[in-house]
């Protein structure tokens, strides 16, 4: 099947040529100046490449926003062990659909970024972990890798650089959200259940198969060639002081024109919604989830917030993946809570009691309130639950499960109270549950 959204509606450097079918091929990519950045990087010292990425301020695009260059610097320098890079294309955070387009429309940008990272960190192996449902996107990545091998760019002495040996493989997941969490991913890559590991040790010390490893989101890798090619100052000139470059925002839900939009970090929420044609059917906005359903919701009054993590953090939420979900005035926020809490209940890996039990409780309470069987005490328990989950577990999944419920209660408590008072859902026009 050909994808329906083939390219972002607003493009910038990263997605500029995504609409061009030829860009997916090695030949087409090179015709647009592709694989020049890796050649430039190979003329530099690995440490200087890593330093440039750190200077650029590039932050991870997988949800946590950690400094990319800093993470690379954790890889041990003196070691006899093989070092491993992992490109995270598990993309399962509800509301996020940007990584898919990179695999389908710009696989070589991602591969060039991985190669530059391999040079900078001394890695000789990379795995692209693609969620199992992304069969077509994974095929696209595999085809691009085959082209590189055929051209003699991968394997031994990549790009003619003696001793620069890199192999890249696609590894397909099999349907488990938790495998996006980096240590759950490592377990899955090793052929096990995707249950996250206790940290420390961190992946740079003990990663895939016990080898020093670095996990980055595939969009993070895809920005790297542009930083090397055009320079740190150019990159720092885009976005905000603390969040540099562009990102591929996704907008879905109740808008006229859902889609992807590559815009500088820090673009005001209002402007991004404008690109998506605004709220559909001319209705009023009720709330926006800024970056995947794990991130606490913003009320309509926060429309002028710049979409960068430092500004969103001031409002009690985060940028996450930049996959925004828009809800209009008809939306019942208790139904939203039901959908979101069901997801976390379903996807908890079950290792930690707080997470395994807490996600179930949250879901059952939300469901009960929605069905008009809620009592005031339910709201108290629901209000206490996020605090019982946050920061108490092996991985950040439990926080991701707690935050949206906390956010909905903070901004839309009235919706919950009305259900309990009226003993039914007072939003007849809301989406069907």
């Amino acid at each position: 099947m050909t994808p329906v959204i083939t390219t972002p509606y607003v493009t910038n450097y990263l997605t500029e040529h995504f609409a061009d079918d030829g860009y997916r091929t090695l030949k087409g990519y090179e015709a647009k100046g592709g694989y020049q950045a890796i050649r430039k990087a190979l003329r530099m010292e690995p440490d200087d490449v890593a330093a440039a990425v750190k200077e650029s301020g590039l932050r991870g695009r997988g949800g946590a926003g950690f400094s990319c260059g800093l993470k690379w610097s954790f890889m041990p320098k003196e070691t006899d062990q093989m070092k491993v890079l992992i490109a995270n294309a598990d993309e399962s955070e509800p509301g996020s659909f940007k990584d898919r387009i990179i695999l389908e429309r710009g696989p070589h940008v991602m591969l060039e970024g991985i190669l530059i990272a391999a040079w900078a960190t001394g890695s000789s192996r990379a795995y692209i972990y693609v969620r199992g449902e992304y069969a077509h996107p994974a095929d696209c990545a595999e085809r691009a890798i085959e082209e590189l091998y055929r051209a003699g760019y991968l394997g031994r002495n990549c790009f003619g650089k003696k001793g620069f040996d890199v192999d890249i493989y696609v590894h397909r997941g099999a349907g488990a959200y938790i495998c996006g969490e980096e240590t759950g991913l490592l377990e899955s890559l090793e052929g096990k259940k995707g249950q996250p590991r206790k940290k420390p040790p961190f992946p740079a010390q003990y990663g895939a198969f016990g080898l020093p490893s670095t996990v980055n989101n595939i969009e993070t890798f895809a920005h790297v060639p542009f930083i090397i090619d055009r320079g740190v100052d150019w990159f720092r000139g885009i976005g905000t002081e603390k969040s540099t470059g562009t990102t591929i925002f996704g907008v879905s839900g109740h808008v006229e024109r859902p889609g992807l939009f590559e815009l500088p970090l820090g673009t005001p929420l209002r402007e991004i919604l404008g690109h998506a044609g605004g709220v559909r059917h001319g209705r009023a906005l009720k709330g926006v989830i800024p970056g995947g359903v794990s991130m606490p919701i913003l009320p309509a009054s926060d429309l002028d917030v710049p979409m960068a993590d430092e500004f969103l953090a001031e409002r009690g939420t985060h940028l996450g993946t930049g996959g925004m979900v828009v809800m209009d005035e008809t939306t019942c926020m208790v139904r939203v809570a039901c959908v979101v809490s069901y997801f976390f209940r379903d996807e908890s890996c079950g290792q930690c009691t707080q997470c395994r039990e807490g996600t179930g409780w949250m879901n059952r309470i939300c469901q009960r309130i929605e069905e008009g069987r809620g009592v005031p005490a339910d709201l108290e328990v629901l209000g206490d639950l996020p605090g019982m989950l946050e920061g108490q577990t092996i991985c950040a999944f439990a926080d991701a499960a707690a935050w949206p419920i906390g956010g909905l209660l903070r901004h839309f408590r009235d919706d919950f109270e009305a259900h309990i008072r009226e003993r039914k859902c007072p939003f007849p026009e809301s989406f069907e549950l």
Partner: protein, 153 residues
């Protein structure tokens, strides 16, 4: 497990520092034979990977895309996560349930379709959607979804 499948699996071992890494792709190859992995096939995998059968079983049961029971000839999944639900996915799923006479999670009596719902599939901007086997069908309405399901052999 057929000798061909075994051969294909063996070529994957070199991709990983330890051959256990090839277990997920190996399960996919094994599952492709009959559409699910039965006890015997799981036993074959355990022997090939030199791990206890329970280790294979544990992996099979952890991942949604691995099946240990016979499945319909086609898998039809509706994403019911938030972006899709906001655009009518659950209404669409209910019509498909009525149309096929099964509930999500069940297989039609003629073995043609296994219907299900799934969590976000990365089609949030083109919702609602159906995943039919490994293909995505996006920007659907209920009538179109029914047409797609009816066209399956």
């Amino acid at each position: 497990m057929t000798p061909e499948t075994r051969k294909k699996i063996e070529t994957l071992f070199e991709r990983y520092p330890r051959k256990r890494g090839a277990l997920l792709p190996a399960i996919y190859l094994t599952q492709a034979e009959k559409g699910y992995v039965d006890r015997e096939a799981a036993q074959d995998l355990a022997e090939l990977f030199e791990i206890p059968p329970v280790a294979v079983w544990e992996v099979l049961s952890f991942y949604n895309m691995f099946y240990t029971e016979p499945q319909g000839r086609h898998h039809v999944y509706v994403c019911t996560n938030l972006s899709c639900s906001l655009r009518g996915a659950r209404t669409m799923l209910k019509s498909l349930e009525a149309h096929l006479g099964v509930k999500a999670g069940q297989t039609t009596s003629d073995g043609r379709v296994t219907l299900g719902h799934e969590e976000c599939l990365g089609s949030c901007g083109t919702a609602p959607m159906l995943r039919v086997n490994s293909d995505y069908h996006e920007n659907l309405d209920t009538d179109e979804a029914k047409r797609i399901v009816d066209s399956l052999e």
